[in-house]
């Protein structure tokens, strides 16, 4: 579904990415890991068309990306919920922008609200639809953020370290929440993270990026069956994958 062919990017004198090649299948969950500052977030912006590559080509569903792709979902570490909107209205936002929901917003608002409510219930926020962001904990805000990024059932979901600011327990909760959502909707997902346990838990394939100038240096398929649970994180196969990834990144950093 997504193909990057020899993509390079320069910011002025800074070579951010060089000759990056990567392919993501439809419905695949991909994680990109690497040492900090290696251009992981840049990769996200390239795939969504927010910035254009200096050279090389990016294709989404066979079409070359020129300008922002439409209708993709995105979530960042910073939940960026709108403080003047309730949780429910925050999650409604994409429906007010993306067709065909936008068209039916006026006469069908009730039905769309019910749809949002159902998703909120699925992530354990059923009772908080009327609450405002400042009344929610960090984990709940991030759940809301996740809901907002997939409420319009995007084909492509981009996640940029969405759980980086959360405590360990909340984080593992949200891994499960995200996995459940993915198992249900089967969107194509690209998760950028520096948490190797997170990458190994969530992804079908983990791509390892090198130090700047970044490029994909290793591809690691994760064959652990789904749904993965907390017990999975104590599985020797899982631990082995995480250790292998850690060793590779340690090696990259020492270069």
């Amino acid at each position: 579904m997504i193909e990057l062919v020899d993509v390079s990017l320069r910011y002025g004198n800074l070579q951010a990415l060089t000759k990056t090649t990567m392919a993501v299948g439809r419905g695949e969950f991909v994680a990109v890991v690497g040492p900090s500052g290696c251009g992981k977030s840049t990769l996200m912006k390239l795939v969504t068309g927010l910035i254009a590559p200096t050279s090389g080509e990016i294709r989404v569903e066979g079409r070359r990306v020129e300008g922002p792709v439409r209708g993709a979902g995105m979530a960042f570490q910073n939940a960026t919920l709108l403080p003047w909107r309730s949780t429910l209205d925050n999650v409604m936002l994409p429906l007010e922008i993306v067709e065909p929901f936008k068209r039916s917003m006026r006469k069908d608002r009730k039905r769309l609200e019910a749809r949002v409510q159902k998703l909120l219930e699925a992530v354990g926020l059923g009772e908080f639809g009327a609450s405002f962001p400042w009344q929610l904990s960090g984990g709940m805000q991030q759940r809301t953020n996740l809901c907002r990024s997939i409420i319009h059932e995007p084909k492509l979901l981009m996640l940029d370290e969405p759980f980086a600011a959360l405590d360990a327990f909340t984080k593992e909760d949200l891994w499960q929440v995200l996995q459940d959502l993915w198992l249900r909707q089967r969107f194509t997902a690209i998760l950028v993270t520096h948490d190797l346990r997170e990458a190994a838990f969530l992804a079908d394939t983990v791509h390892v990026m090198s130090q700047r100038p970044g490029r994909i240096v290793h591809r690691c398929p994760i064959a652990i069956p789904r749904p993965r649970t907390l017990a999975t994180t104590f599985d020797p196969a899982y631990t082995e994958i995480v250790n292998d990834l850690r060793a590779r990144i340690a090696q990259l950093r020492s270069q």
């Binding site: 969504t48 068309g49 922002p68 209708g71 993709a72 709108l82 403080p83 922008i97 405002f132």
Partner: protein, 249 residues
């Protein structure tokens, strides 16, 4: 009790003022006692009312124009780097001009009276509105912008859904400053070039040494300014209450 405190303090200040005037027998043409000012208020209630309404009128019209122009300029500057680079230095330079010095020029163009007062009130008060609206728009998180752009939102939708609501608290903060400035503008213009308005009334009263009446005019302007300020604050609570979460609930 808590709400009564500012009133009590105000009354105490006036009482102190009265006491000082009486104890030291300060002549009325230097500093009239509050009782003498009150007397002047009652005696000259009609000219005070007529001229007060005139000042209120020029101020409110000038302020309204300042809101429209200020918001439009602010949106332009805040949403387009090109407009920002071109226009902002110009505005800063323009704002550095003492507005009092502009009044004679406006008089040459428009004559005396209502029009220069409106123009001065506008000119003096639009700048803080422009700057604050632009700042409000600039405070939209880049991540939020990315989320919306990738959803396929047009620049206008980004402005409507996020930019404008985000900048409302900034706008209201500016309005509270601007309304006071607008009063200063119209009164200044009236003292220089007008035959009506509180500024004109105060000037002619002082030339006749009716100092209590001058102070009555001052207090009237202050009172009107406070009322309009309170109105802006009320609007702020209603339209951007989310920015005051700690105090509201």
């Amino acid at each position: 009790m808590k709400q009564a405190r500012p009133w009590l303090l105000t009354i105490a200040l006036f009482l102190l003022w009265e006491l000082v005037c009486r104890v030291f027998s300060v002549p009325a043409f230097v500093l009239p006692a509050p009782s003498e000012i009150l007397e002047a208020c009652i005696r000259f209630w009609e000219p005070l009312l007529v001229n007060g309404l005139q000042t209120l009128y020029t101020t409110v019209v000038g302020f309204a124009v300042a809101i429209i122009v200020g918001v439009l300029l602010g949106v332009g500057i805040g949403s387009s780097p090109a407009v920002y680079e071109a226009l902002y230095p110009l505005l800063v330079g323009f704002n550095a001009i003492p507005k009092v010095a502009l009044v004679p020029v406006v008089v040459i163009w428009c004559g005396i009276g209502t029009v220069p007062a409106i123009i001065t009130a506008f000119v003096i008060s639009f700048f803080p509105i422009t700057v604050n609206v632009a700042t409000g728009l600039a405070s939209v998180e880049p991540e939020m912008r990315d989320v919306l752009r990738v959803l396929g939102a047009s620049p206008l939708e980004v402005l409507r859904k996020v930019g404008i609501p985000r900048s409302l608290p900034y706008l209201f903060a500016a309005l509270k400053v601007a309304i006071t400035l607008a009063f200063i503008g119209s009164v200044v213009s009236e003292t220089v070039a007008a035959n009506q308005g509180i500024g004109f009334l105060m000037l002619s009263a002082s030339s006749r040494f009716q100092v209590p009446l001058v102070f009555a005019g001052l207090l009237l302007v202050a009172a009107m300014s406070i009322v309009l300020y309170a109105f802006c604050a009320l609007l702020e609570r209603r339209m951007a209450g989310w920015a005051f979460r700690g105090q509201a609930s």
